[in-house]
């Protein structure tokens, strides 16, 4: 009987609330405890996103699809941008998929802290929950748009043309890794932006400009091989370069397996994520007073 009197630790957990300074630990345990909140916020985002729209989830397809059409006309046909042996529409659409996931996550996460101000100023929860949920909720749109890609591949494989059929290579198994890499990159940048946006609303104006600019330095509409050899290393500093190229390689088997370029991009992504996490945690304590 005597053993049973020992109370479990969690029952009488003591929390000390005191001023903190400088960098703080990530406290991922607390985040894990609130995992259901992440789930519910994602669920809310998805439920609400296409409410009262005529086309509903169709928007998840329309955006990348029509961008692909425009790219095909202007870059594929008029400018004659090479597409590494696959039909240009498929080439650009494959790039647009991770790109769409990235920009969506970026702009949602960037604005998330401010749009969830009511929650932040009234209830405690690990603030990381908010940008995390907004990044992850982009996966739904991504999946819907992905189905269209499969449709496109089937279509082009059955239409005789100048291109050979696109076959699935073993590289496909690495696809989840590349999706993970998009999320890591988006979360890294998103954390920086969302923490900065609490203090500097300039971020709202920077965001559209940033994503537009970023699109040009990412191999979405053109292959990375178009960039001169001697500048490839600089080009790879954009983490999305490795992601988009790798994504294409995993899906279409184009070019060769991404080597040093992917390594650089991945390193940058991870750097962004961790610096973002720590910066966010550092700024977190002022959110409720500033947002």
């Amino acid at each position: 009987m005597s053993e049973s009197t020992i109370t479990p630790k969690s029952q009488d957990e003591i929390i000390y609330l005191r001023p903190t300074r400088g960098w703080s630990a990530l406290n991922l345990r607390d985040l894990w405890r609130y995992r259901e909140l992440i789930y519910f916020l994602i669920w809310r985002d998805i439920k609400v996103r296409y409410k009262q729209t005529a086309l509903g989830a169709g928007w998840a397809i329309i955006q990348p699809f029509f961008t692909m059409v425009v790219f095909t006309i202007f870059f594929g046909r008029l400018a004659g941008v090479p597409s590494e042996g696959v039909p240009y529409p498929i080439f650009s659409y494959t790039g647009l998929l991770p790109w769409g996931l990235f920009t969506k996550a970026l702009s949602d996460a960037g604005r998330a802290m401010v749009s969830n101000r009511a929650m932040i100023t009234k209830v405690y929860f690990p603030r990381l929950v908010i940008p995390l949920a907004s990044v992850l909720s982009g996966l739904v749109d991504f999946s819907i748009a992905f189905v269209v890609l499969i449709g496109m591949i089937v279509y082009y494989n059955n239409v005789p043309g100048e291109y050979g059929t696109i076959s699935i290579t073993p590289a496909i198994v690495t696809l989840p890794l590349f999706i993970l890499l998009v999320l890591v990159t988006a979360l890294g940048v998103g954390l920086w932006l969302s923490a900065l946006n609490v203090k500097y609303r300039d971020i709202n104006y920077i965001l559209p400009f940033l994503t537009q600019f970023w699109l040009f330095i990412t191999p979405v509409a053109y292959p990375a091989s178009m960039v001169p050899e001697e500048w490839q290393w600089l080009y790879a500093l954009n983490p999305m370069t490795g992601v988009v190229e790798g994504f294409r390689w995993a899906l279409l088997g184009t070019s060769s397996a991404p080597g040093p370029m992917l390594a650089i991009s991945t390193a940058i992504s991870i750097l962004l994520l961790f610096s973002g996490l720590f910066y966010f945690r550092r700024m977190e304590r002022t959110f409720a007073d500033m947002v």
Binding site: E13, E36, L37, D202, M290
Partner: protein, 452 residues
């Protein structure tokens, strides 16, 4: 095992007004700041003040100690009220204890899970249905899914919106919305519950239900910290009360004594509104309002008055030029905007004749609201200065608000809110026509009658 729930030691919270929610910084500001910062630093060195923290927020316009040197312990199962006028630091204290914001100094020690109700319906999304919002709001408040599943029916039952549970809450009336929001919050089961003025909303009937639920929570042995302006709620729910003033703890006593002292000591909200020159429109000339004040029978300016005492309302103003036929008066409204009455200083024809032409100078117009007149609650005083059908010189429909405390008012033996804005002590007479009172059977006596 100790039975401590909350320990607060030398707790303080410093706010820079520049970083308050009303104003946010832009990159440009902070770039400009970083350029001027060295200059300011030198200037600060040169000024006599050595430590900015010595300044208690009154000398410095840009910053304020919302809380300072706060010390107290709360034991498990205690139900503590927190009162104080606006800006006394009540909300800041709750925000720190519920981990929304960090203290600037000191430490708060929390034993157990804290549930905070600084607002009901946090995170409610208008597009989602009642059902969906219960889950979302529950998750935000820290409940997990199985917990919500288990209590779902109870929550819906309590909210009285079962019929509309699958309707988006944007179609709800504000009453339904609040009921649902409170129902979720009321079913939170933390070790320590921290509650802000959430009961001040909703209709009287539902308020009563909420108070009932709150007292159940208290009886279950949970620790509760309850902030309110509603003295009767504080009296009903709490055993002990902390009084805050200007960020400091000025008293901790059994609730009845704390409330009594709070109401009589002038810790209450300053019942005074002073108009600054830029608030007075040019069209008011030559009428220049100075202030409106509420005074208790001892002449002290107060925010909270007792229903059983006379209240003096005083309007101070200047005339820069003579005005003929001027009348200066007040509106009194409930906090919901229903008019209780309107009255002018020259309502009496004799008075009107006497002050037909008011000469330049400083004036005080005072009136006394008799005792046993206003019901408990918060009231708004509006001020009007005009000449009948000619010109309205000045009007401020919400010059100030004050609270009426019902202690000692008629019917206080029943702890229920009374409907209506006024609470007169009417002269009731009870007459009876029964002629044989001894025939009324008295239980208990009948047995002994048979035995004897």
């Amino acid at each position: 095992m100790n039975d401590l729930a909350i320990r607060v030691e030398d707790l303080g919270k410093y706010y820079k007004i520049g970083a308050s929610p009303e104003r946010y910084q832009t990159l440009r500001d902070s770039l400009a700041d970083s350029i001027t910062a060295p200059v300011r630093r030198i200037r600060r060195r040169l000024s006599t003040r050595k430590d900015p923290s010595l300044d208690n927020g009154r000398g410095n316009q840009d910053s304020i100690w919302a809380l300072r040197h706060l010390n107290f312990d709360i034991h498990k199962g205690q139900v503590i009220g927190v009162i104080g006028r606006n800006g006394a630091g009540k909300s800041t204290l709750l925000k720190i204890l519920s981990r929304v914001t960090e203290p600037t100094e000191g430490v708060a020690e929390i034993h157990g899970r804290v549930g905070s109700l600084l607002e009901v319906g946090t995170g409610f999304h208008p597009e989602l249905t009642g059902r969906e919002n219960i889950y979302l709001n529950g998750a935000i408040l820290g409940m997990n899914r199985t917990e919500i599943d288990k209590k779902f029916d109870e929550i819906v039952d309590f909210s009285e919106v079962a019929k509309f549970i699958d309707t988006p809450v944007k179609r709800y009336s504000s009453g339904m919305y609040l009921r649902l929001a409170f129902a979720v919050a009321a079913h939170l089961e933390p070790d320590i519950l921290v509650v802000d003025e959430v009961l001040a909303v909703g209709d009287a009937e539902f308020q009563r239900k909420c108070l009932g639920k709150m007292s159940n929570v208290a009886q279950e042995g949970r620790t509760v910290l309850f902030v309110s302006h509603n003295m009767s709620a504080i009296l009903r729910l709490t055993e002990e009360t902390i009084v805050l003033d200007k960020g400091q703890l000025v008293m901790r006593a059994p609730t009845a004594r704390a409330v009594e002292q709070y109401l009589s000591s002038g810790y209450a909200e300053i019942g005074e509104r002073i108009w600054t020159p830029d608030e007075i429109p040019a069209t008011a000339y030559p009428f220049s309002p100075v202030a409106v004040r509420i005074r208790d029978p001892h002449g002290r300016v107060v925010d909270t008055l007792r229903s059983v005492e006379p209240v003096t309302i005083e309007i101070q103003y200047r005339l820069e030029a003579p005005i003929t036929g001027l009348r200066v008066g007040i509106y009194v409204m409930t906090i919901r905007g229903e008019f209780v009455f309107t009255s002018f200083d020259t309502d009496d024809p004799g008075q009107y004749e006497k002050f037909r032409v008011r000469q330049p100078g400083t004036y005080f117009s005072r009136c006394v609201i008799p005792p046993d007149f206003l019901n408990e609650g918060r009231f708004v005083v509006g001020v009007n200065a005009s000449t009948y059908q000619i010109k309205r010189y000045f009007q401020d429909e919400q010059a100030l608000t004050f609270t009426v405390d019902p202690s000692g008012a008629p019917g206080m033996q029943w702890a229920e809110p009374r409907l209506g804005a006024i609470r007169p002590r009417l002269d009731w007479r009870i007459e009876t026509t029964h002629d044989k009172p001894q025939e009324v059977p008295i239980p208990g006596n009948t047995d002994s009658d048979i035995e004897s």
